[in-house]
Symmetry: C3
Subunit: 363 residues, 3 copies
């Protein structure tokens, strides 16, 4: 799948300089690039690496002097990181999943497959399920009863789409994602210790041992267009209404989205984020790795939560938060700096007190 | 699957008022309910929503005036949340898994299946494994050698039951759960830095590079009756004895229960809880999302750990804990309030000190 | 699979005492050991347990008096925990996976299988993939296009090996691991709020709503020899170069290793550890459960991170860290002790201030 420098520049909407007919086989970091590679060098800081490799062509930052760098050709990207999107899409070797329906796939008679759908080995498509046109469904994917996926979906292997889940266009799922597990909702005959501790902020009253009775999930999951879900990430059914993931939202590996959660559009969650039940997340919200959000709260639009933040209450739109409990980042930094100084401060106070009381004893 | 208002009330052991012959198709939130839905309105706070929808029947709180609310019938639930259990069980459309043994299922000659067992597509049941009567085993589930599940189990898709695992009656597993992965137990020829740092509270002594040798898991996993395990949750084998999950315990998605852990009865773990090796959890323990518990410790009965708590030492029965490290909730709140005030306090101290030393320089 | 006491001692390179011809069926804890079991008693603290069981043979600590303990034979292990490695390897009943190629396995014509490879039911081996000699691949494992595993690999069930992943000798994977999911890498047309907040430490400037464009993963994953990966753990592809896991490294369940991460040799990660993109981890690094490491940072050799630590910046070699943000363990303990005392200290300060200002008012 070689491309000329000119073709690549055109796909990136970028400027090509030098010998634009040179053929590029793949993309590489400068130091390990061969003669047939396009070296990625969008930051002048790493220009030294070029000499260690054999690249003849590089993707460079605006204003870079490609000839002085010893190159035969260059592509100039105004925003290198953004150019990476088009470049990597063009050069992605993919998973090599075959076209068509694999003979081991099991398709219910009442299921509907769009045109040009590819089903891999051991795929199961349940009753009245629908797979939109041009979707590629990898090995061992299960599309449950009355679920709907696509068009133009790409599911890697071992993905679970539960019954009644609805997913929009251009959905991408990494391996092992579980869309539509039952919500974790249990209730005790009498008010439980948790209910009482929440009301009293910590006192669960008399301890009573009760068993949990299951609340079934009657809602499903609705996912918009252009959503991507990471490997082994789980999204639970809603209890009555659907759990919702808005269009354009991207969720990384090993995340957990509980029942009734509503996530807005164009959000970005890094790995291991957990959102507890019935919480509402706005649009364009970004969460770092291992962030947790408590149940029944609201996160405003454009909130950014730093890695490891545990959000235990409402966050207004636009805030950048960090910590456990998560607070505004500058508040967190002030608290942390003060805490860092605290052992010394306490020692000083103690010394001063001692000298004061010594003075006192001299009275 | 329509039911009359009277039938539903009877199933809920609740009072039916008005036209009890009205047919209900499904359950809905008040604002989105159609004429054929039962609106859920167990909290007067949300009564306004009713006007936005078209419900003729609602599940209401005790004392609610259904006629003034404009309804044709009502069901009165003394504890609405508890009524949800029976109601949702009755109305659950389920996964639609077929009855019987799918022709692609692979059953070892020495395996034993109870009466009326359903095995989905591509299920594998290993040597001497047993599946109890009326169990439903979804697509791609693997029941390992000499494992035992059920009766009345319900396994969604892609579930792993490792060799020698024993699971009681009415087990429910969400997709992708792994019961019986090997424990993570490794040892170095000489004492490792971790062993030394644990003893010295932080000093690992001379740094020595050693490789890890595997301790195999000879124990299995024993799970009681009425247990539910969430999507992609993992429970490891014990090393010598079994890892144990007591009857009635419910574990949410993406949890991790390490080797030799013992969990009591009727516990409830929210998503992403992790319990490290050989820790013992009492009965009726509740853990919020992303809680972590260190290894070789003991958590008493009826402990409640708030979301994100990291439990690094023993917790006595009945305590409500929060924080990292987790402490009693009121202690945590005191510490947190003090920390919140700390930057200001330190600034005041500094000012006062300055003024004191100024005074002093006037001596 | 019974062994004599003498045979076991020989395998452990340990000393056998007493009737070394006694046959041992399995290993047990002292209190539950039967006559045919080897009781594990490497710590004198637990010697009382022996009387509760019926063991005739035990694995004992150096210097133990086996005859006084009422045993007929004993094996003396200088380092009991290390002896467990050889002992459990010898006694492991395993998963009972069948030898040979299961008839339901699907092997691409261009794939290469080494001698004596076992493929379980419903295994898929993709185009130009390679499985090394003596490897055992469990049910539902997917070996992607041009991936390479083994020799002597052992994969449990439901494991995903993505296209182009390279894995060395003696690889062990627990169920549901995902090696080679796409990296989570997205970019906005203009600088995003996250990019701005990182530069300003918390200020994302004017809020702009943008959609995310995908950066595809052109790199793969390279895993060394003697690596073990836990259940449902995910390791993402690199963007341009490969994500790397060094030889001898062991990673527990539910971990997340993001794109471009490099992990050294002989590391040990407990459950639920998350490593964000492009971070470099040294050799012999040990991480406790639920540890998180931020992106683009460096962790030196022999670092130990305690459970729940969130590492937000570079850690020098040999440090033992704890906390959020993670700091040196003794610094953490000092801060924590001071924080623990803080509410009382603030109350005292307030009292003193009051008495000072009272004194002042008497002026």
């Amino acid at each position: 799948m070689a491309h000329t420098v000119g073709q690549i520049a055109a796909a990136l909407n970028a400027e090509a300089l030098g010998d634009t007919e040179l053929l590029i086989e793949k993309v590489a970091e400068p130091a390990s690039a061969t003669e047939d590679d396009l070296a990625l060098l969008t930051n002048p800081k790493f220009a030294d690496g070029l000499a260690k490799g054999s690249a003849r062509v590089a993707l460079l930052w605006p204003g870079a002097d490609w000839q002085t760098l010893g190159l035969k050709a260059a592509i100039i990207a105004p925003r290198g990181r953004y150019a990476m999107a088009a470049l990597t899409r063009m050069m992605d070797p993919g998973q090599g999943f075959a076209q068509g329906i694999h003979p081991t796939a099991i398709i219910d008679d009442t299921a509907e497959l769009g045109e040009n759908v590819a089903l891999g080995p051991f795929v199961v498509v349940g009753p009245r399920a629908r797979v939109g046109a041009n979707s590629v469904i990898g090995p061992y994917c299960h599309i449950g009863m009355e679920a709907s996926v696509g068009p133009d979906a790409f599911l890697r292997d071992h993905v679970s789409i539960g019954a009644r889940v609805t997913i929009g266009a251009r959905f991408i799922s990494q391996p092992g994602a579980r869309i539509g597990a039952d919500g974790m909702s249990f209730v005790t005959p009498e008010a439980s210790g948790v209910e009482k501790a929440r009301e009293s902020l910590g006192d669960q009253g008399e301890l009573v041992s009760q068993s949990w009775t299951r609340i079934h999930s009657l809602g499903a999951v609705t996912i918009g267009d252009d959503v991507e879900i990471g490997a082994n990430t789980c999204i639970d059914y809603g209890t009555i209404r659907d759990t919702v993931v808005g269009s354009g939202t991207k969720i990384d590996n090993q995340c957990h989205v509980a029942h009734n959660v509503t996530i807005g559009t164009d959000c970005l969650f890094a790995g291991m984020v957990g959102i507890a039940g019935s919480t509402k997340i706005g649009n364009n919200v970004v969460m770092g790795g291992q962030v947790g959000v408590t149940d029944n709260t609201t996160i405003g639009d454009n909130v950014i939560a730093g890695g490891g933040a545990k959000i235990l209450s409402k966050v207004p739109a636009g805030q950048v938060v960090l910590g456990y409990p998560a607070v505004k980042m500058d508040t967190h930094l002030d608290m942390y700096k003060a805490l860092r100084r605290l052992p010394r401060t306490l020692a000083q106070l103690k010394n001063r007190q001692k000298s004061v009381s010594k003075d006192g004893s001299n009275d």
